[in-house]
């Protein structure tokens, strides 16, 4: 079960790791899936979580850490409740993605790869989200938003408070 904690919203405990391993299987090739499931509640993977996964799968911690840090959807640094990923690939770029990023930065008051003081938002950039017909686009957690203007991007962020 995922515990509520006063400092952050949720905390992964050993039982969650066991449960995820049980659900996905103990084989090494399930590592990505396990990490993905464990990250769902907190948007990042704590060191303790990685240690527990390494022990459960009987893998060196270095290997689990190496895998977790290779992929951009995983983070080993604390992230906010909402991870905002603004697309900066060429098709969105020519649609004005730089203006979207500037508006999001100004609204949240953070730079790329930073988290707001209230731990609500982490701002990241992303490569193409594959919705180029409706660019510029951004993704907030699993949800994609298109046809953005700077104002609309800010409105969407406001609806996530």
């Amino acid at each position: 079960m995922i515990m509520l904690c006063s400092c952050r919203e949720v905390k992964i405990v050993r039982e969650d790791v066991k449960e995820a391993v049980q659900r996905c299987g103990r084989e090494k090739h399930q590592l990505l899936e396990i990490l993905g499931q464990l990250q769902k509640g907190t948007n990042f993977l704590e060191r303790d979580t990685l240690v527990a996964v390494a022990e459960e799968l009987d893998l060196p911690l270095a290997e689990v850490y190496g895998t977790a840090t290779f992929y951009s959807l995983y983070s080993t640094k604390p992230r906010g409740r909402y991870v905002v990923r603004v697309c900066e690939s060429a098709p969105c770029h020519i649609d004005g993605a730089a203006d979207i990023l500037a508006a999001v930065k100004a609204h949240l008051g953070v730079a790329v790869d930073e988290t707001t003081d209230d731990s609500q938002f982490t701002l990241e950039t992303t490569s193409c989200l594959g919705v180029c017909s409706v660019g510029p686009a951004m993704m907030i957690n699993d949800e994609v938003y298109g046809n953005l203007t700077p104002d609309r991007a800010v409105e969407i962020l406001q609806s996530h408070n």
């Binding site: 090494k28 990490l35 060429a90 994609v144």
Partner: protein
């Protein structure tokens, strides 16, 4: 089964969903139910119709009337005027060049297309296997199992001349042949759905619109090469594709089209769906295999090739989504039919996503050999806003930039090679004359510097050095020597990088330098940037 007098198709592809197709569908269903018309009209969610720029798209059968940009507020009028009175709502029709186009096939957007891979995309509810079955779904697999040996299937694929549609363009039949001949058990089939090339979303829209075409292709491939287990590796960002594909696999299992003894043939095949976790390099086939094994997605040295030593060291056939979706039509209609489509060197069709400065953005499938001009002007509807065509980047960010002087180039592998470009994965980014090539090059290079996995030196260092040089040129601090250095770095990267990422990362910059060197020189010599996007003084001398 109940029969309805009219079917109303509403696109539920990603692009239309972002244009509010879900509220449209909900409002339509509610209005139909309110009026007690639910026995007469059936609302069906389909995959992408292609004309994403005009979404959300709705098509009402039997007439085939095609409405664009439908919003929830339009539903009452559609119900009152069209469904109840049988009159067309003119204001929602697609506006072609001269007059309003009533049905989709009558639009210039559709007339130059030839839909093989997209045969069912936009025509069926992707979450209902029966709709696929009603449109020849799994007939190719049935034919293979009933009447062909694995060798016959491989021979048909070889004869078809189909080239891999994931970017490298390697003959698909030869991969199938290598894997069939390889010794070692078990063998695997892997579908590469880690579509990360910027500007490309055709695999996503195929998976969302007709997942059964891909499952069928994987099963045919499994039968041909002697594999009973398949994996599909779908990009982690593609949540809708993952969800739809999982559902389709379950339905195929329920219908006995996956599992043991498929159609009583004795052949067994299963598909496991895996999600990526955000790494462009995993689109490279051996990096993808490492990722499937639960490792860092770093490419492997080749040889050995996956056909001999792939997933867990076993013989593995790895093909792109679009390649596999071609398998069933090729078996159904024959290699000669497939060769009759497209050009001599490149048989068949190619699916592209058309994006950028073009009137009709969206998903298209065209015969190979069609010219770039036909795609941009006829299908794409030209450049909007009174602007001029500047260049098309084909194949995504790792693809070449083709200038206006080559607009009449036939789109196939050898012709694109002649101008320093490549067919790539299926992106076609159209750029008008308001954009600066140095600024765009910056975007390309920031992408590669971020996505290089860092394993081999030429790519890790090369992508960073290229980024630094082009950033400097854009900021007005570049020199002519930087251009020479840029050329030297690109030459090293192309020769010495371990995988396709480092080998192709220089392509957009090399073509930009080849066709738009004047813009680079203007930034260096006089600080002039045509768009003002770069940090140099716009239109004036560097201070």
């Amino acid at each position: 089964m109940s029969i309805h007098r009219s079917h109303i198709l509403v696109c539920s592809g990603s692009n239309c969903t972002l244009r509010a197709s879900v509220p449209v569908r909900m409002a339509l269903r509610a209005a139909i139910a309110d009026q007690g018309l639910d026995k007469e009209f059936k609302v069906i969610e389909t995959g992408c119709f292609g004309l994403c720029q005009e979404g959300p798209i709705m098509v009402i059968y039997p007439e085939g009337i095609h409405y664009c940009g439908v919003q929830p507020d339009d539903i009452d009028e559609i119900v009152e005027t069209h469904l109840k009175k049988g009159r067309v709502v003119n204001r929602l029709l697609y506006r072609g060049e001269a007059e309003q186009e009533v049905t989709l096939p009558s639009t210039p957007f559709y007339q130059r297309q030839h839909r093989v891979v997209l045969r069912n995309v936009g025509a069926v509810d992707p979450e209902n296997i029966e709709e696929s079955l009603a449109r020849d779904g799994y007939q190719g697999l049935a034919k293979a199992l009933d009447t062909m040996s694995p060798r016959d299937v491989v021979q048909t694929m070889l004869d078809s001349g189909l080239q891999g549609r994931g970017g490298a363009g390697f003959p698909a039949g030869r991969k199938w042949d290598f894997t069939l001949r390889a010794s070692g058990e078990p063998k695997y089939v892997v579908c590469n759905a880690d579509e990360g090339e910027p500007g490309t979303s055709k695999d996503r829209l195929i998976l969302e619109g007709d997942p059964h075409a891909v499952i069928e292709g994987m099963a045919i491939a499994g039968y041909a090469v002697g594999a009973s287990q398949g994996f599909i590796y779908i990009r982690g960002e593609y949540q809708l594709s993952l969800q739809r594909f999982r559902k389709a696999v379950e339905q195929a299992r329920e219908y006995g089209l996956l599992g043991s003894d498929i159609l009583g043939s004795g052949f067994s095949f299963n598909v496991e769906v895996r999600s990526g976790a955000g790494a462009y390099v995993c689109g490279e086939e051996t990096a993808l295999l490492n990722s499937l094994e639960g490792r860092r997605g770093e490419p492997r040295y080749k040889p050995p090739f996956p056909a001999n030593e792939g997933l867990w060291g076993k013989p593995t056939l790895i093909n792109n989504v679009e390649t596999l979706a071609n398998a069933a039509p090729i078996l159904m209609h024959g290699a000669q039919w497939y060769r009759s489509l497209g050009s001599e060197d490149c048989p068949g069709t190619k699916v592209f996503t058309l994006s950028g400065d073009v009137a009709n953005r969206g998903l298209i499938e065209v015969p190979m050999g069609i010219t770039l001009r036909e795609i941009v002007e006829d299908i794409g509807g030209g450049i909007p806003g009174g602007r001029q065509f500047k260049m098309a980047q084909i194949g995504g960010t790792s693809g070449g930039c083709i200038p206006a002087e080559h607009l009449d180039i036939p789109i196939d592998i050898p012709h694109l090679d002649d101008v320093g470009a490549s067919l790539g994965s299926g992106a076609l980014l159209i750029v008008d004359d308001s954009h600066c090539m140095v600024d765009l090059s910056k975007t390309f290079l920031h992408f590669f510097a971020h996505e290089s996995c860092g394993q081999c030196t030429p790519c890790r260092e090369g992508t960073m050095l290229m980024r630094k040089l082009v950033d400097g040129i854009a900021a007005g601090s570049g020199t002519r020597k930087d251009l020479e250095l840029l050329e030297r770095i690109t030459a090293t990267m192309r020769k010495a990088s371990l995988c396709g990422l480092g080998q192709t990362a220089p392509t957009p910059v090399l073509t930009a330098l080849r066709y738009f060197s004047d813009e680079y020189e203007a930034h260096i010599d006089s600080g002039h940037c045509i768009s003002g996007a770069c940090g140099v003084a716009v239109g004036g001398m560097k201070s």
